[in-house]
Symmetry: C2
Subunit: 152 residues, 2 copies
């Protein structure tokens, strides 16, 4: 994105090429980059929580709660990043099975969402002991989906 | 990230190389990719809101509120993506001025945050007329910061 945001979203030039582009369906590339961006942000927060769970960084209950909340919010946002046809369009590792077996994908997506919700709830207790189990469950839920639906 | 999330965040191998890596300071590359990911997700939501503001897609008050809320949440998360030293480390367009004039950067960051908060509040009214102005203000706030702090 090399242009001003106002131009990209078509405010500066009503009826312009830019506004026509936005009126069309979302490009697969845009969805791919969106979902990859969300996963980057999820990992950013997971990484710092991991240092606290493992004792590599002192447990800070406020920071942990903030990151667990962010992670849960990001996970809510993530799923619209997989519209049909977005298996291709930019380099990405989503397997076609996501769109061939949507029930399974949805099941694993809901499992992650439930896990991030539980982690955020546990973080509200403010204790390291309370978050250790739920944090491990979140990491497992990430991997459960990647095992089936992400290329090696 | 080519490994299971549990391995990357060092849960699978306590005391392993992975866990040592996480205990160290965040790599500039990680921060750069995090903030770029957040901006991708911001633009994803801005884009759909723009189609509704411009009438290219019918105004859906529930979707608009959801996207305005997501945008505000993402904007809250964004600012930790600029630790000192993260002007380099991966391809990115952040200017060194971000770290040379942090007061100005913070001022523009707070202006965007205020604008996304006002947009989310306006979206709660459920009317297109109420969101048009606040939406334009958000787009301007994006560009105000990019003008000063993002390379062409």
């Amino acid at each position: 994105v090399r242009k001003p945001v106002q131009l990209v979203i078509g405010l500066a030039l009503a009826g312009s090429v830019a506004s026509v582009a936005w009126a069309q369906a979302v490009k697969p590339e845009t969805a791919i980059k969106f979902r990859q961006g969300i996963m980057r942000a999820q990992l950013w927060n997971l990484g710092t929580m991991a240092t606290m769970v493992k004792g590599a960084k002192p447990f800070d209950k406020d920071e942990f709660l903030r990151r667990a909340t962010y992670l849960n919010e990001l996970t809510v946002m993530a799923w619209e990043g997989y519209p049909p046809g977005s298996d291709q369009g930019a380099p990405n590792r989503a397997k076609p099975e996501i769109w061939k077996d949507p029930a399974k994908f949805t099941q694993l997506a809901e499992a992650l969402q439930a896990a991030t919700g539980k982690l955020a709830a546990a973080a509200r207790t403010g204790t390291l002991d309370a978050v250790k189990g739920p944090f491990g469950d979140v990491a497992k839920a990430c991997d459960n989906c990647h095992d089936d639906f992400r290329s090696k």
